[in-house]
Amino acid sequence: MNKTQMAPSVEIVIENAPYAVVGIDAEGRVVEWNKQAEVVFGWPRNEIIGKRISETIMPARFREEYHHRMQEFLNKRTSTYLNRPMELVALHHDGSEFPIDLTVVSVPVNNTFLFYVFIRDIRNEKQAEALLRSSEVRLKSILANLPVAVTVHNGKNFLYVNDETVRILGYSTAQEIIGKEVLSIVHPSDRDAVIQRMKTAQKTGQPRPLREEKFLRKDGGVVIAEIYSVCIEFDGVPCILAFGRDITHKKNAEQEKEAMMRKEQEAYTENVRMLAQTRDAVDLRDEFISVAAHELRTPLTSIGLQIQILRRQLDKQKPSQTESEKLLNTITPTINQFDIQVERLTKLVNDLMDVWRIQAGQLVVHREMCDLVDLVRSAISRYCPGQQCRLIKAMPDKILGFWDSTRLEQVIANLLSNAEKYGEGKPIEVTVLGEDATASVQIRDQGVGIAAEDRRRIFDRYQRGASFRSFGGIGLGLYISKQIVDAHGGKISVKSQLGFGSTFSVELPIGR
């Protein structure tokens, strides 16, 4: 059978081909132009036949190279530009340019050539390509800027890692990681767990639940990340797509916070312990002081008693016998001195005990109904011998109040003793008044007086309002007196003038 009869005619094939077929001669003139060429280029056949393609469908800028190539072929009878698809830009009849895909085939005819160019308008493809590329660019940009590590691996090696992954793991490029074994960047302590979970995920196809895992950086450092992964198909292969969030800082902060809280707890416990220790020490001190004071009182009591017994015996002696009289005269002053010194020691011990009690907050006031006038009178007779102190006024002559009589007696005694000490022997006047809800006692001496700047200090501990060399003493009396008066809700004060004497006033609320 004739070959040409079997196949459809070449013309029919060319004419109906789904792409443009353009035939040109060695001079570049169009000799063939199929239906599709008309559509693609917008040139009707009868108009373009015989015209040069370089002057019709080729943008001007390509002409030179085209001629160059053509010459090259005609000289060499071969060219690298034949028989392979090329992407070029063509010119439409309406003047617009569009992208084409073309293949050139040469056909020897007689002793020249014809060229058949198979052309496709790839405008749409190009557009799709551009869209895809721009979408790819967008996606790439998202992946690059995502503060989340995105990786794809096939269960063994990494296939893809984004910029964040690279950054988190301390590498410089993705290439350093791609191809590496996944387990090589997992911290040894988590490797088994990771293997297990990958197996389960691949079996069930379910995404792995959110999980914290430890990974190794390039420099050997450790990062802790929250990992979420799903199974996907990547290039047709079942793979795992994993998202990771670096929580190392958060974890470190948590650990630091825990450590700090532990430290605070320890400091607090330590403080509590130290406080308890301090309290114990204070209790011990107070107990010691009170025991010491008691211990001091025992020998003092003993000595005191002995001296007083001696005294009483001496007092009973009849001074008529000259020998005894001489003996009495010798012994009596000595005994008197003993007596005085024991009294001083006793007072000192008592005052110290009171000061420590005040310190320990143990100064307690035991109130009872008592008569202030009576109290003052007996204090005067007991602590101010002779005629030096006089109760010059008591108005009314019985003032009942709810006070600690022992302690008030202590205050009055202290004031009287001070008045005597600094009174320069001059008369001391005592006044007791009761008005409405307040009772007051005033003790006035006409002695050295107290300087203005000292008047405030004298009620403080260890303060004295007179020169140490002249008057001695350690100044606890007024401090204790003030504490006692304060404990009663009262007030103690002084008015004085240097050289003229002082008046001490004690005011006490009467009621309960």
């Binding site: 003092l300 009591t301 003993s302 007083q308 017994i309 022992t406």
Partner: protein
Amino acid sequence: MKTVLIIEDDTPIREALSQALELEGYSVYSASNGKEGLEILRLLPAPCLILLDLMMPIMNGWEFADAVQQDNILMTIPIVVVTAYAETAKSVKSKEVIKKPVNLDRLMDCVKRYCG
């Protein structure tokens, strides 16, 4: 004969008090703690006054006072507490409290008041 019972654990003080009272013409029983004091009260005729120290071993002053309160006869004997701890003495049922170191004049006044 007027008798005073002294209950005091410190020997020098106990002996000095005894001596002082005897010199004044009183007769003296003495005990070094509350238990001894109770024994004396059981065996001998009642004194006109008990001088009671508080801080003592075996049976202290508070315990002695409580025990005395249990007995209808003993509870009628006046007690004067002689102690350094004047504040704590308030819980004891006593006629008076004399603070240590003791002022002998005051003590003698007190004894005279209850014993004559």
